[in-house]
Symmetry: C2
Subunit: 186 residues, 2 copies
Amino acid sequence: MKKNFGANTWLYPMPVLIIGSYDENGTPNAMNAAWGGISEVNEISICVSEGHKTTKNIVERKAFTVSIPDVKNVTEADFVGIVSGNKDPEKLKKTGWHDVKSEFVDAPVFDELPMTLECKLKSYDEESCRLVGEIVNVKADESILGEDGQIDLTKFKPITYDPVHHGYIALGEKVATAFSEGKKLK
Amino acid sequence: MKKNFGANTWLYPMPVLIIGSYDENGTPNAMNAAWGGISEVNEISICVSEGHKTTKNIVERKAFTVSIPDVKNVTEADFVGIVSGNKDPEKLKKTGWHDVKSEFVDAPVFDELPMTLECKLKSYDEESCRLVGEIVNVKADESILGEDGQIDLTKFKPITYDPVHHGYIALGEKVATAFSEGKKLK
């Protein structure tokens, strides 16, 4: 039997997107967004409403980063989603994250977050809240790379947002039963 | 040290979206898409290119479903992403999934998939591949509900797509260290 819950903004998994940006003075900011995803080849779209400091920064600087937090950074990731950069200028400092400027775009990369998409602004639409970025580079910390030099999910434990319980979940184990790996249909 | 990988369509987590639709004869189809996510309140956006049978169906019927497969359905979920409904009219039959018509929209719900978003078509744009749906109902199987009647992630094990290794990963454990739950910043 299935139960109907009505109209809800629920999906599994939802990402935890830490958007990094600079304001007009070069002050870095970070915010947490869960409404977004890949929208095309080398393109990410995120719903970010107009009032956020992040939105103003990105429209001004034409660039942003999207970092993927891991289980070690869940508290800080949650914090930057709750506290506004408009209200607390010390917001980023409180996370303890260290920022450096991206070599590719005019936006900050955070040392402690293991994976970052560096994006050029393609468009922002206030009406629909839709921020679209071209991914010009993906950066990953060497600590999450396997022997083959690729991102290794036994070393990298990204978190995901749980919209029903307003919590966070870690990615788990590989499911080794894909059809493309030769597994037969039931 | 961080390593640069260049422009890549990588994100963690990426969803596994099983899009259900009917063709002009009422024949159900399912396909697997990973490029998408929540785009606004009660709204989901997915990149689905024009050539898919699913795209034609949705434009015709003005509705679709998005089901979230769990670890039990990973082989079938992968299969519907590889085999085209244009080429194999028996595609859905081979999954063993049973379909029933949604009570809310003109699209099929699959018995075996534990969670489904029932969507009305808002827009489809060939140029950008962007399919936008209004989520009018979320349906969940009673087998994945906890004692409080809500979706329970100890019972529901959604899968996610791994774009780097072209595999699937299960969602893991709750990370109980969110700032909003009282955990202090480091």
